[in-house]
Amino acid sequence: MRRLLTGNAAAAWGARLARADYVPAFPITPQTEIIELLAQWFDSGELRGRLTLLESEHSMLTAAAAAAATGVRVFTATSSQGLLYAMEMLYTVPGWRAPFVLVNVSRGLASPITLESDHNDVLAARDSGFLQFHCASCQEVVDSVLLAYRLAEDPRVRLPAIVNLDGFHLSFTREPVDLPTAEAAAAFLPPFESHGIGFRASRPVSQAVAVLGGSAYSYFRYETHLAAEQALAAHGAIAAEFAQRFGRPHEAVERYRSDDAEIVFFMIGAFATKAMDAVDRLREAGVAAGLVRPRLLRPYPAADLQRALAGRRAVAVIDQNLSVGKGGVLHGELASVLYGQPDAPLLASYVGGLGGRDISAEEFFQIARELQDAVLAGRVPPPRLLYTAGELRQMRNLQAIAAAPGIAGARA
């Protein structure tokens, strides 16, 4: 069934096709449409189960994991400040080994408080133990929710998963989406299997208990890490099955015209489609450009990235996030797996697209030129924060207004 859906509706459809039993919820822009749709479907009986509106995201995540630990399939969603408000539980619940799916609709973090997208929110959850899928289209959103459930619930993994989509650019953009039929989705994603985890009168269990001492603590932390690493191989098999059933390959790393590229853009999320467009136009102009886009960020597909980038001459990592005092997060991550590799490319760092700020085609072309120069010079250019002279002029105007004397000042 092919329908025009927003990214938010695609996320809700993913939960519906996964037959989520339970949705603990809390509204936040730009995510709210997801829980409104799910609430309608629970009310109309199109979904069986329950949606409970909690009083905060911290409670929402607690309820989500507690329900998953009781043995039902759980879906929940949040964004930005909400994800950070839940951060204590985000780090807590992966160790419960009770899988569920959380959709995050990316939005820049305060301060200043804002609404549009960048990836600092979801990257704050990077080390939490949640698996992370990053989507570039509405089709990918619905597919990734189904893939995320399969991977999270895999007996080798048993970890919760985040599916990330960009606020506004994806959440509120309608795209044609091929919706799997309920039967096809059910054939791909079997009913929730708790693998013995759950609270039952006949089978008392203690979950998430305290440990005393670093040895037991380390053991359980390592177990969680190793489970996440096992998710890499499991993802390969699950994505292959998905491609076979639905005809849409969703590999851990998407390579777009990159196999024979000299220079490569490296991005996650919806703005990667802007990079694809720039690649096409650069190719028309005779520049061997390409794009490499990790869909799976946790576990980190290191070997796939090493293979995809070996022999490329230069890579521009375009981070829609800012680790204050360090720079782009993805740049550092990629450098850590390319360092010392044979045929590793030069690696340049760009930060842009913060808080929904566009990255224009001209900027992609400029980055491409800088990469070509770097290849010729054999030297990496310094990191850049994307910002145009025009933007700065506009900003100066705003500052002039902000600093202008108000009514009181005028009177004085």
């Binding site: 309820a63 507690a66 039902v72």
Partner: protein, 304 residues
């Protein structure tokens, strides 16, 4: 009243909660928990917030015959919500037989109950969550060395109120906060009065909806008294009127014990090191009078 709970000898002596836990000697909270667990039984899941009792279940040991889930300091009621909702879904859809059902019990200290977890508690009551909230109240952040919490009483010396007059604020009224939410049930108890406690647990467990059991938990290290005196301190809290035993049911607050004659609060205060500065080196007449007048005013209103 359940006719089976008339006298002390009617109380269960099952001692369902195992011994040998990491609690302090003379812990008034543990005393209450022993008595409560005997009545609630093992068909429960205790959803715990960070507190002294988090260490009850330390891998690989637990004193509970039933289930346990540790959450975080602020969100035990939300954990109870997730468990309750999931059990309702599973049982409602026939995926779990009804006899597998459990009672969700949030187990927290006073710090979570009156402070960091209050929003989650308010939300859970507001949603009509079917759960029991058991707060053991040792009137401070006991697990971290008895800093002042919102439940710390006027004049008490804590690790963060070591000044001449002790804690400057009065104890936050958790019972009244619950009652303002119109829950199905709320009660104050103390382990030192096991019969009153048992009757209230018995009443609470027969009801459906949000239910508070607020247990005063005399704390030997935090309140500075000999562990052997824990029960006596609890009794004195009741006899001096400092800890009113009451319940809220059917929309009304009823006192299950009106101390008569009511002993002066000093009989309770002078037994605890946390109030010693009110007596030595000289009497702090002002603070003592304020504490007594607060208690007098409370009972004057009750008996009016």
């Amino acid at each position: 009243m359940n006719p089976a709970l008339r006298r002390m000898k009617d109380l269960p002596s099952t001692h369902l909660l195992g011994a040998g836990s990491a609690m302090c000697a003379g812990c008034g909270g543990l005393l209450a928990l022993h008595e409560i667990y005997d009545l609630l039984g093992a068909r429960t899941v205790f959803v715990n917030a960070a507190s002294c009792m988090t260490l009850l279940a330390s891998y690989p040991f637990t004193p509970f015959r039933g289930s346990w889930l540790y959450t975080a300091m602020a969100s035990a009621p939300a954990g109870a919500q997730g468990v309750r909702d999931a059990l309702d879904i599973l049982i409602g859809q026939g995926r779990l037989p009804p006899e597998e059902d459990l009672t969700a019990v949030a187990l927290t200290g006073d710090g979570a109950a009156t402070g960091i977890g209050l929003s989650a508690t308010s939300g859970a009551i507001d949603r009509g969550l079917d759960f029991i909230y058991l707060c053991y109240d040792n009137e401070g952040y006991g697990n971290t060395g008895q800093q002042s919490s919102p439940a710390t009483p006027l004049g008490a010396r804590t690790a963060t109120s070591g000044g001449a007059h002790g804690h400057a604020a009065s104890k936050k009224d958790l019972f009244a906060i619950w009652v303002a939410h119109r829950p199905v049930y709320a009660a104050t108890v103390v382990g030192a009065d096991p019969l009153d406690l048992a009757r209230k647990i018995d009443k609470a467990r027969a009801l459906t909806g949000p239910r508070l059991i607020h247990a005063l938990a005399p704390c030997p290290p935090g309140w500075s008294f000999d562990p052997a005196e824990a029960v006596e301190i609890g009794r004195l809290a009741v006899k001096t009127g400092v800890w009113p035993l009451k319940e809220y049911v059917d929309g009304k607050v009823v006192h299950t014990h009106v101390p008569h004659p009511r002993l002066p609060v000093e009989e309770y205060l002078k037994r605890q090191g946390r109030f010693r500065h009110l007596f030595e080196p000289e009497r702090d007449v002002q603070v003592l009078a304020r504490i007594q007048s607060q208690v007098d005013a409370y009972w004057a209103e009750v008996c009016a």
